[in-house]
């Protein structure tokens, strides 16, 4: 077990939810379908709603990881050839620290580190879509120092500044064969950073009912010094010079409206509605420093659409120590017909989640969650002509440790 986890942690994470968004930022919330923006109950609220953090009264550190096992299959329409993904287990993680200067203070300070976008998708060697994609790794880490302030007993606001670091590595084969039958290969890699913010409002009109509105801004990851590395038959080396490229990937904004219902001391219900402005992902462009007749700048239309997700979850305190959670989320795909690519064979989906919490002591708590979803998509990509059926199964068991100082 130890070895598996060590291995998993070393591997880049893979994201699965709507495009390349990853909704694994809190185990309690994950257990409830990803809802909880209006239900401050652990330090993960720093991500979900900075405006509600001031209603969570403890100094707390919360660290979590969610190994994501994603298995994809592709059936090519014309030939009936089947290919499978060989994607590594992803490891989105989060770490939160929430602090108050004094007991019951109106002001809370926090630091959140999390991975809201990213994926590693890798297809088996020699698969039929190899000239469209063999592997895409996209990683982003957000660092978010946060301030949360309770204006009144019922109203809180909060804001976090986001610094994000990201890197991308895209690989595909090139249909240029040498005498030994080997195909060429292209690898584009680079890193970049971007800035954004996360603001939230939390309103608790009664003891039983909470509202929240949050907005996480778009972050543009600008790859300024990407490296393009081409392996081609020797005679074509001058047509495919290795060199720099620039690109930019928008990580879209998310607007959330949420409801929290504390039906009783034991039962709480959370409902979140997200609007993800995927319209920002209009084009994936690569601008090469050294252009040749064979190596031109590329602009691939993605034309993502804004998408909505609705998340519903409940938790029940079975005993003072044990809490059970259940959730369901419906997420619309941002990927239009004709634009499905092997890196995100996305579609509308239902996420089924469950979770459990266990208090070891007053200070130490464990939360675990499990997500399952299945995505099916059939499409003919307009740019590459890749035509067939994708099916992806995602299993994501996660674990968090919370320590109250």
């Amino acid at each position: 077990m130890y070895k598996l986890f060590t291995l998993a942690l070393l591997l880049p994470f893979l994201g699965y939810n709507q495009g390349f968004q990853v909704n694994f930022q809190g185990q309690q919330q994950q257990g409830m379908g990803g809802a909880g923006t209006a239900l401050p109950q652990d330090a993960a609220i720093l991500f979900f709603n900075p405006g509600a953090a001031c209603f969570h009264h403890s100094n707390e550190i919360n660290v979590a990881v969610t190994p994501v096992i994603s298995k994809g299959t592709f059936l090519e329409d014309n030939t009936n050839e089947v290919a499978h993904t060989t994607s590594p287990v992803g490891t989105p993680f989060s770490a939160y620290g929430l602090f108050q200067l004094k007991e019951e203070s109106k002001l809370k300070l926090g630091m959140a580190i999390y991975t809201p976008f990213g994926s590693t998708v890798e297809w088996e060697e020699g698969w039929t879509g190899r000239f469209a994609l063999t592997r895409l790794k996209l990683l982003s880490i957000f660092f978010q120092p946060t301030v949360s302030y309770r204006l009144t007993k019922k109203l809180g606001i909060g804001a976090g500044f986001v610094y994000s670091y990201g890197n991308v590595n895209l690989q595909k084969d090139l249909p240029l064969q040498d005498a030994s039958g080997e195909y060429g290969h292209a690898e584009l890699s680079g890193s970049g950073h971007g800035f954004g913010y996360n603001v939230g409002l939390y309103f608790e009109p009664t003891r039983h009912l909470n509202f929240a509105i949050t907005y996480r801004s778009q972050v543009n990851m600008n790859l300024k010094k990407g490296e393009a590395d081409f392996t081609v038959p020797e005679s074509l080396n001058d047509k495919f010079p290795d060199g720099r490229f620039t690109s930019s990937i928008p990580l879209p904004s998310v607007f959330t409206f949420a409801l929290g219902v504390k039906a009783s001391e034991k039962l709480a219900i959370a409902l979140d509605a997200n609007y993800v402005n995927w319209k920002a992902y209009d084009t994936l462009a690569f601008d090469y420093e050294n252009n040749t007749s064979s190596l031109l700048d590329t602009k691939s239309a993605r034309l993502y659409e804004g998408s909505i997700a609705v998340r519903l979850g409940a938790q029940y305190k079975i005993t003072p120590q044990w809490t059970a959670r259940l959730g369901l989320a419906f997420a619309m795909t941002p990927v239009q017909k004709g634009y499905v690519t092997p890196e995100t064979p996305d579609n509308n989906r239902l996420n089924y989640t469950c979770g459990v919490g266990y208090s070891i002591s007053e200070k130490l708590m464990l939360d675990a969650s499990f997500l399952f979803t299945q995505v099916k998509r059939e499409d003919t990509n307009l740019e590459t002509g890749l035509s067939g059926k994708f099916k992806t199964l995602v299993f994501a068991p996660g674990l968090a440790i919370t320590y109250k100082l």
């Binding site: 090519e76 050839e81 287990v89 000239f131 469209a132 595909k172 064969q177 005679s235 002509g385 059926k389």
Partner: protein, 446 residues
Amino acid sequence: MKYTYTSITIVLFTALVSCKPKIEAPEASMGDVDGSRYIAIGTNNTSGFANDGLSFYSQDNSYAAIIANQFNEVSTIEFKQPFVSAGSIGFNIDGKSPLKLGYKTDCKGVTSISPVRIAGAGDLTQLINQYAGYGPFNNFGVTGMSALSVNLAGYGNPANGAGNFNPYFARFTSNEATASVLSDAVARNPTFFTIMLGDDDILAYAKSGGTSGPIPDANGAAGVGFSGSLEEVITSLTANGAKGAISNIPDVKEYPYFTTIPYNGLTVDAANAVTLNQIFNPIGISFVVGVNAFVMEDPAAPFGVRQMVEGELVLLSTPLDSVKCNGTGSVFPFRDEFVLDLDEVAEINSKISEYNSVITNLSQTYGLAYADTKSLIHRLKTGTVYNGVSMSSAFVTGGAYSLDGLQLNPNGQALLANTFIEAINFSFNAAIPYANPIKYAGNIFP
């Protein structure tokens, strides 16, 4: 207890990691087709001729062989070809070896990637007849075969002389003196056949710049016209109830051989413009610095030469070094064999159209599947994409044609095979999976 939990967790985790989602593929089916004794009759692409030569490698990737492979995906069949031996470099009947991509230095000292011969000479030992050792065969593709010659007895007999004899057929005829391609094919008692005939009658004329004999008439009796000859082939093959598919004739002018060198590909610098104008101004031809139309011979023109006009085609057989350095196409006008003038282009167009009417009619009369190769070739002219691979009729780089610019490479042959399979599936209630073109080779770069 703890150990058990750990084991269970590991087992579960391993199960999750190793599971693979299943997608049910539609069931493959031969429909009304009995592919057990499939034979192919045709010319260059059918035989697997490519890179201006015949080799084991090119034969193995003929569209006929690929169709047989796809039949094999559904039910096992045998498809025998008169192979050149696998170790041989291959040959053509001019004694040359096939082409490969290599480095070539032109008259100006510029080295670039270019088709070059694999060896100084082709392996003519491969002309020896294969029938006794390996026959009978299923692939009756014969390079350079006229549709009018398919039922010519003794077509494999050198004694019959040029026009009535084809050395490529001599390689696998069952009987040099008496057999025709058709009689050998019928002797196989085929259950299914594909036909691609008439294309080389058009191509022979086109690639000679219109200097070879006239294209045979579309209508006429067997051995005289295309219609009678083709009908004889079809009636013979369907006599025992075999089903079949027939290809129409593509616009051969869309092959790279005819599209690579533009009619106005003559680039002239200031000094050359002066020289050329001194020579040609007296006969009413003038040149500008930059792009100009080539000059060609034309007996009908005043002084027997004129500039080419739009719509006329320069062939890839043109000696390019002479064009670059010795004034061919300008000071020394192109000879007739290197160009297709407007009359010749019109003749090709009208014959293709007449031949295709014949093919359409006969395919309907005899219930044949109709493979629209003409559309495929046209799609390659404009460029097409398959699973992220762009393919076009661009010479060498287009990825679908072999290095002779006339025949397809394995990639293109797979597209052609799919054109047949599409027609077969459509007409005979079949669901034969398509070949994957990108699993077949393109042009090999050094």
